[in-house]
């Protein structure tokens, strides 16, 4: 049940997107997200959508998984687009009391839902194709300049790595404890919300206890191997910008300029 969540899950693969430098991927993701919100007319939106589709098709991850991650947020898309329909300005084409639908409202709704879908697709693409360790490694590198402000970048990255590493472990542990309590006759399925929450106590307490125990053990193990933070630490896998990464960047720059040009020369719709 808990395992069915696909949002933010790494899918091992061998495609171009998998092999791309994680730093490049993160920066491009940020660029694309900004871009998605900078598209003010249908042409620029279509350009971005096309670019996102190309990336997804190249990503060596089955389209089913992308659909699955969209399923999770379908309610959010519906609610926001319905709200947006009624918030347009201009002459109404349909009116009922204070509710009115205008052309601009419909445009807004379309824009918002397309934006959310693209947002989810492109960020899923990052997490599907990049292992958590690569991701935190890249983040650590990218945040390095923050050291000037005495921010402990390495420690933050290490915490993220550890947290991500223990998600599956804790899920497994939850499963085990739930089975053990069910074997003692715990009833977790029936009853109302309050009863269900109360029924979780026998699962949550052992889970917390074991999480703390694991944390102590891990801290001990790290200290035994003389871990002392990021100063003077070298990496086993160092990141290098490859030829293919340069192509990625060029591709992104072309899209970027395309969208900006579209925005400049075509009148905005919203």
């Amino acid at each position: 049940m808990i395992r069915d969540i696909t949002l933010g899950q790494y899918v091992p693969g061998n495609g171009i997107v998998h092999k791309a430098d994680p730093r490049v991927k993160i920066i491009l993701l940020i660029a694309f997200i900004t871009l998605i919100f900078c598209a003010f007319n249908f042409v620029s939106l279509a350009v971005i959508a096309a670019a996102v589709m190309i990336i997804i098709l190249l990503s060596d991850v089955s389209l089913k998984l992308y659909f699955k991650s969209l399923k999770v947020i379908i309610v959010i898309i519906l609610i926001t687009s319905i709200l947006n329909i009624f918030y347009g300005t201009g002459t109404p084409i349909w009116q009922f009391g204070i509710l009115k639908i205008t052309m601009s409202g419909i445009y807004r709704a379309v824009f918002v839902s397309v934006r959310i879908v693209l947002l989810i697709l492109i960020s899923s693409c990052l997490t599907f194709t990049t292992s958590p360790t690569d991701l935190t490694d890249a983040l650590e590198r990218l945040m390095k300049p923050l050291k000037v402000f005495h921010i402990k970048v390495h420690e933050i990255a290490m915490m993220m790595t550890i947290a991500l590493r223990f998600v599956p472990t804790l899920l497994e542990e939850t499963d085990k404890i739930m089975s053990a309590q069910k074997a003692r006759g715990a009833d977790m399925e029936s009853g109302g919300l309050i009863k269900k929450v109360k029924a979780m106590t026998p699962v949550l307490i052992p889970l917390f206890v074991s999480a703390f125990r694991r944390a102590y053990d891990l801290a001990m193990a790290m200290e035994c191997r003389c871990y002392q933070g990021g100063d003077g630490r070298t990496r086993m896998k160092s990141l290098h910008i490859k030829k293919s990464d340069v192509f990625c960047i060029i591709f992104a720059v072309v899209i970027l300029t395309g969208v900006v040009l579209c925005d400049i020369f075509i009148a905005p719709i919203i």
């Binding site: 404890i177 074997a183 003692r184 052992p206």
Partner: protein, 287 residues
Amino acid sequence: MSVIEVKDLCYTYGINTPFEKKAVIDLNLSVNEGEVIGLIGHTGSGKSTFVQMLNGLIKPTSGKVFLNGEDIWEKPKEIRKIRFKVGMVFQYPEYQLFDETVYKDISFGPMNKGLGEKEIDETVRKAAKFVGLSDELLNQSPFDLSGGEKRRAAIAGVIAMDPDVLVLDEPTAGLDPMGRNLLLSQIMQYHRERKNTIIIVSHSMEDIAKIADRVMVINSGKLEMLDTPAKVFSEAERLEKMGLEVPQITKIMLALKEKGYEVSDGILTVEQAFLEVVNLLKKEGKI
């Protein structure tokens, strides 16, 4: 009469995904009332999956489990009732402790069963006595106990439901030799008094040889052998092929036999071996 009957039991993990794996394949078994069954198998052989199907924690992909002649999945909504009849102690059960006091934790099962206050008190104290927990310990927090005591408290939590069948998944794992022997003898004491059926999973062949009436061997999800310990452990070679051992003393006696000494098969304990060797020496006129 058989308490538990298993017919063509199958379980497959991750059906219709790339990770599909058959954990239990066409398993048939009948367990008699009051029997102690030792279950052995290599890590990942499907033992744990199998025992979790006995009390309905896992629903079989196909096949049936009968408890006292009734299919346990006949009324899926009442599967919880089965769990009070087939008690299950998981591996490292001390990680399931959660309540403020040991007493409250042990009473979790009986309370879910819906017993009255007086009955709960009775069953909790009885269960604690079986596993050798003193009255003072009952009022302490379970997290303040030692490792061995925690294990006892967790086992008491299952015994307190007074199940007809008790399934124990490696109850002695991680305990010191003294603790192991003590816990095993307490479980056997409980078995003799309550006269219920016990299924015990263990990696310690010595333990299994000591207590089991019958031994079942599972390999890659299939039932390979089901017989008395003496017969099962006399097939040392076959067991070793499955990555299993035989008790050390059995190994020695089998080696003696191979050398041409006339000792019988399936010696399981040091005492038996001692008598056998004495007999042999007498026969040869050496003592």
